[in-house]
């Protein structure tokens, strides 16, 4: 569905670079950013933090009945990924076959197009995740 230009622009740091929040008081990380830590509720102890983009699959599904704007991508794998820093997020899994996907499987961030708003509309970019593939040690 269509979202405004300014809304999309405001979310760029979080969507492009996995910018989140750390509460220094509780030592808990949050994604996306929060102004108030929901655990200690103490304002002023939160700061920006950039996550590594490494994580593992917490749960997943194959979406065969896509929402408006995602018709061309269907079927696609949608997952909740748990980042190594702790927070979880909802994301698509790309460059990975459904048969390969398992709960607990290591994944890493990939920068991708998320959705396109019609022929002349906005193109939104952001994170998706893919299976971590070990390089074969050729040396």
């Amino acid at each position: 569905m269509g979202v405004g230009l300014s809304l999309s622009w405001r979310r760029i740091p979080e969507r492009y670079t996995l910018l989140g929040t750390k509460c220094d008081n509780c030592k808990i990380n949050y994604f996306p950013t929060r102004k108030i830590c929901p655990k200690c509720r103490r304002k002023g102890s939160v700061k920006d933090v950039r996550f590594s983009g490494k994580g593992k699959i917490y749960s997943y599904t194959l979406v065969t009945s896509p929402p408006t704007g995602f018709e061309l991508e269907a079927p696609y794998i949608l997952a909740i990924v748990e980042l190594v820093e702790g927070p979880k997020l909802t994301t698509q899994i790309v460059d990975t076959k459904l048969e390969e996907v398992k709960i607990g499987m290591p994944v890493e961030m990939a920068f991708r197009k998320i959705q396109e708003e019609g022929e002349e509309g906005l193109i939104h970019y952001g994170f998706k995740f893919k299976k971590v593939r070990r390089m074969t040690s050729g040396i």
């Binding site: 599904t61 194959l62 979406v63 995602f70 909740i80 927070p87 909802t90 698509q92």
Partner: protein, 386 residues
């Protein structure tokens, strides 16, 4: 605080009702409730109505005023309540609190959604508003996909099976077939569910509640007044509500709804009862996995054993605990704003002994459980024959 009772209730037929509009549905339900309560319009002090997305579904906001107008209730206070798919039960709770506090004496609580005036894809967009638009829907999530993520994790942690989930649909369609108000009037088999089209694996189309038009309404008044007014009053002995993170991924667990557990705990404390005291319950089965989690989170069965209990028939009509005698959201249909009120109407009928072909044998205590979105709002009410 005053004790509060339901003295009347009614609902429209639930279904794809192309000949009937938003106003027709809620006026029918409201009028039935007022007549059932044996009252006149001028005896009503206030109106609360649950509606999730009238702006998206029928381009109409300001619907509480509209309902008061067309029900001939002006100039009473009329307030719309929105909490996604929990709008109806949260409206009931507002009405309950208004009467309990002494602010109002006789209150009408309505719930309504007219969903089929828009295309299925536009309806999905409207329903998507119940989730986190920026961090779930934007990424390609749909409501079936969010519940599929819960289902997959529940299968992983507890060994729940697709057949166990399917059994919820079979049971609820069987109950719906006995309910003349229900969207679906036909029984289905396990095979029908298992062979139906996959929407978001492991959920199939028969694991999902339908897009439904419908409305329901109730009349509340103080218990002491209700007892003089009628001999079929049903007391609301608990009303509890809790909230959780709007986005599923921000919750600690995917296999329970914390808001359900907290609201249930508060409700059982308020009613001074335990889960085993409940004879009949309407729980939020927007997807089959949701019923399994609900019967666990409400304390009817241990965590992870909801699937097995369902498969063993323990939640069928007149078994260990009768769950979703109306057919639930799955079989009776899910006009989102109406659902929470419809659940209470069904429990009222059950406790009065007026549920005809789907009557639970002599129930004394009933419960309703209504969820908003993927679990960010939950409302639990407990009812007793007055």
């Amino acid at each position: 605080m005053r004790r509060v009772a339901i003295v009347g209730g009614g609902m429209s037929r639930f279904g794809e009702l192309w000949s009937r509009g938003f106003r027709d549905l809620i006026i029918e339900a409201g009028t039935k409730a007022v007549e059932d309560a044996n009252l006149h319009g001028d005896e009503i002090d206030a109106l609360y109505s649950g509606t999730m997305a009238a702006g998206r579904f029928v381009n109409q906001e300001h619907v509480a005023a509209l309902i008061a107008d067309f029900m001939g209730l002006n100039p009473i206070a009329a307030t719309r309540v929105e909490a996604a798919c929990a709008s109806g039960s949260v409206a009931l709770r507002q009405g309950y609190m208004a009467v309990a506090s002494g602010m109002h004496d006789v209150v009408v609580v309505g719930g309504v959604e007219k969903m089929t005036d828009v295309s299925v894809s536009d309806a999905a967009i409207a329903l998507g508003g119940a989730g986190d638009q920026e961090w779930e829907l934007f990424m390609g999530a749909t409501f079936p996909a969010l519940y599929a993520l819960m289902a997959k994790r529940h299968m992983y942690e507890y060994g729940t099976t697709e057949e166990q989930m399917a059994q919820v649909a079979v049971k609820n369609h069987a109950n719906a077939a006995k309910n003349p108000y229900a969207h679906f009037q036909k029984e289905i088999t396990l095979e029908d569910v298992m062979k139906s089209k996959i929407i978001a694996s492991p959920l199939k189309i028969f694991d999902c509640s339908p897009i439904t038009d419908g409305a329901a309404a109730l009349i509340l008044m103080p218990l002491d007044k209700a007892k003089k007014h009628t001999d079929s009053a049903v007391e609301i002995i608990a009303s509890a509500q809790a909230s959780d993170a709007i986005a599923l991924h921000s919750r600690d667990s995917l296999t329970e709804l914390k808001a359900t557990k907290i609201a249930a705990k508060k409700a059982f404390e308020m009613a001074k009862l335990k889960p085993k005291d409940i004879d009949v319950a309407e729980v939020h089965d927007c997807f089959t996995i949701a019923e399994l989690m609900a019967i666990e989170d409400l304390g009817f069965f241990k965590k992870g054993e909801g699937g097995k209990a369902t498969q063993e028939g323990k939640t069928a009509l007149n078994s260990e605990i009768s769950i979703n005698t109306s057919g639930g959201l799955k079989g009776c249909g899910h006009p989102v704003g109406a659902t929470g009120v419809k659940q209470a109407v069904e429990i009222m009928w059950q406790l009065r002994g007026a549920a005809k072909g789907r009557q639970v044998e002599d129930p004394e205590i009933g419960l309703t459980h209504n969820v908003g979105g993927s679990g960010a709002t939950c409302c639990v009410h407990i009812f007793k024959r007055a």
